[in-house]
């Protein structure tokens, strides 16, 4: 009797300790996130005080409106959404077309092409940056939004094609047979029959593509050198680094940073089932 009671209390203690540990980690991990949200909600007076406060003095939601209206983050926000939408569509689309050819069609040179594609993933991206600058410069595309999405219209990385191909290979051949007999060509078959079956991986790639370009400050920083270039939100914030202390409205920077973080956060939470699965398989497959 006492033995089972002892066993029970030990289990409760063990469980509580584990929960405490889990909560402690959550507090630590979310501490910078909360700090950012707090600072975006502070009054101008409080944020400019020499002492760095953690909690805001009331919730000044108007900071968001002001940051995007007067702070100059409005147009960059719009640009970020435009580029994000393009990449969000082109990533799954370009990967799907290539993956369909690799998994469902027979053609001369398939193996060679697949090997070539996989080889491109081995090369550090850093190697192609300089020639791409020269290319964009020659095409007059520096200081535009094009470098952010142009390559992705055709090819969004071997990893994406590979993952999509793995997914398509699990779609049984029989699914397409009847459509084939009805005379549907490959194009119809791939979009009518295979694409709907690939919804989870398509969602994963759309969100990954969107989130990736949403946070990309490096590409514009390489291919922009004029201040009148169209900024994305990430690049607009990048130009502020090192300038925060000179800013008269640091709360606007943090309001913009909060919006910058909340958009991918919502995307992640809304699609977490697909994303966690996708991130895990992407990590395990290759």
């Amino acid at each position: 009797m006492t033995d089972t009671a002892l066993y029970k209390t030990r289990r409760v203690v063990k469980k509580s300790a584990l929960y405490l540990l889990l909560i402690a980690f959550a507090v630590v991990f979310l501490f910078p996130y909360v700090f950012m949200v707090n600072r975006g909600l502070m009054s101008n007076a409080r944020i400019l005080e020499p002492h760095m406060y953690y909690w805001p003095d009331g919730l000044h939601f108007k900071n968001y409106a002001l940051a995007f209206r007067d702070g100059g983050y409005g147009k960059p926000l719009l640009n970020s959404f435009i580029v994000g939408a393009i990449v969000g569509v082109s990533t799954p689309l370009s990967s799907f077309l290539a993956a369909y050819a690799f998994s469902k069609l027979e053609w001369l040179g398939k193996k060679a092409m697949f090997t070539l594609m996989m080889l491109t993933s081995l090369l550090p991206g850093i190697v192609t940056q300089v020639p791409l600058y020269v290319l964009y410069n020659d095409l007059g595309l520096t200081n535009t939004l094009f470098p952010l999405f142009l390559p992705g219209l055709f090819f969004c990385g071997a990893m994406n094609v590979f993952l999509m191909r793995q997914f398509l290979m699990s779609v049984p051949k029989e699914m397409e047979e009847s459509a084939k007999l009805d005379g549907a060509n490959a194009f119809l078959r791939c979009f009518r029959i295979c694409a709907p079956l690939c919804t989870p991986i398509i969602i994963y790639m759309a969100v990954q593509g969107f989130v990736g370009i949403w946070g990309d400050y490096l590409t514009p920083s390489m291919y922009n050198n004029r201040t009148d270039a169209p900024y994305t939100l990430a690049y607009a914030l990048y130009t502020m680094t090192g300038e925060e202390t000179n800013s008269t409205h640091p709360e606007w920077i943090f309001a913009a940073a909060t919006i910058m973080s909340i958009v991918p956060t919502i995307a992640f939470i809304a699609f977490q089932k697909y994303l966690i699965e996708g991130i895990a398989t992407a990590g395990l497959k290759l």
Binding site: F29, M52, Y54, A98, E106, F155, M222, L284
Partner: protein, 306 residues
């Protein structure tokens, strides 16, 4: 003659049959040629030139490669990169692995914690940079939050990434620890792939949790440990994320956060030494290739199922 005709007919049939496939692969082929293959060739070609995009385009032979080894900044850059790799890679891999073990415990609500731990990875790097530059602020009159903690604990203040010594790089590792949730998801997926029969058998034999970990979980995750080791290693050597927070355009005070990836970025897009930047990139490719081969040669500790 007939045989070749037959072969030709077969080939023609194959070509005709291939048209659909080629149409589907056309965009990707164009993309790879235009944005990968041609740039690779160009990049290699630029290595031998002193090139600034605007006017200068002078052949210098192996000059750029010689410069890689004689550049006075190089010692600092390479030692910083190596120190960062040696501290960052184990910290991130071991940290995310331990966190995954914690989340793998059978408890209600671990899924929620998995999501919470992943959230810092969702925050764009540039936002992280801005936040860290406040949290780690070293100004003694207006200390940042971390220094406020240190003062509260009665410890001396730290300069964090504003320091001009190795403290700066250790601060970057500290930041990266907040992104552990990303690796954790992959470890958790790997744990799921371990056949449950192994644990059942071990339990019948009376194995305790610690024993089960060292005899089953750890050996079964060695392929993933190896894969993550290589990928983290490649990413770490190219790291230029200090751009978003460190002083002097990411170089840090006294070049304390000047690393190889950033060096390439600065030579290319700040100084427009395109030829030299390409040479630096190719040296990195060779080094990464050599070390990857070395890792594969010494992977006897990795246990593959088949």
């Amino acid at each position: 003659m007939i045989a070749t005709k037959k072969k030709l007919a077969l080939f023609k049939k194959k070509v005709k049959h291939s048209v659909a496939g080629w149409l589907f692969i056309l965009p990707m082929t164009f993309g790879i040629c235009m944005f990968t293959l041609v740039p690779i060739a160009q990049s290699f070609y630029y290595c031998f030139y002193d090139y600034d995009v605007i006017s200068k385009f002078d052949f210098v032979g192996m000059g750029n490669f010689a410069k890689v080894f004689t550049d006075p900044q190089m010692w600092k850059v390479v030692s910083n990169t190596l120190f960062f790799a040696v501290v960052n890679i184990p910290a991130v891999l071991v940290g995310s692995y331990l966190l995954a073990l914690l989340l793998n415990v059978k408890l209600k609500g671990t899924k929620i914690f998995r999501v919470l731990y992943y959230l810092p990875c969702v925050v764009p790097a540039i936002v992280g940079g801005i936040v860290w530059s406040y949290v780690m602020r070293q100004n003694p009159e207006t200390p940042g939050l971390f220094n406020q903690f240190l003062i509260a604990l009665g410890l001396p203040m730290s300069q964090f990434f504003y320091a001009d010594d190795l403290t700066a790089i250790l601060s970057i590792v500290l930041m990266n620890l907040f992104g552990l949730g990303g690796g954790t998801i992959i470890w958790l997926a790997q744990f799921k792939n371990i056949p449950p029969q192994l644990y059942e058998a071990a339990e019948i034999d009376g194995a305790k949790s610690l024993r089960k970990f060292f005899s089953i979980t750890l050996p079964m995750s060695t392929p993933m440990i190896f894969y993550n080791l290589i990928t983290t290693f490649i990413v770490t050597l190219q790291f230029n994320g200090t751009l978003t927070f460190a002083p002097r355009n990411g170089l840090g005070n006294g070049n304390a956060t000047y690393m190889y990836g950033l060096k390439i970025y600065h030579e290319a897009f700040r100084r427009y030494n395109m030829g030299y930047a390409c040479a630096l990139a190719w040296v990195l490719v060779v080094v990464v290739g050599l070390i990857t081969v070395l890792l594969f040669k010494t992977n006897k500790w990795v246990q593959y199922d088949d």
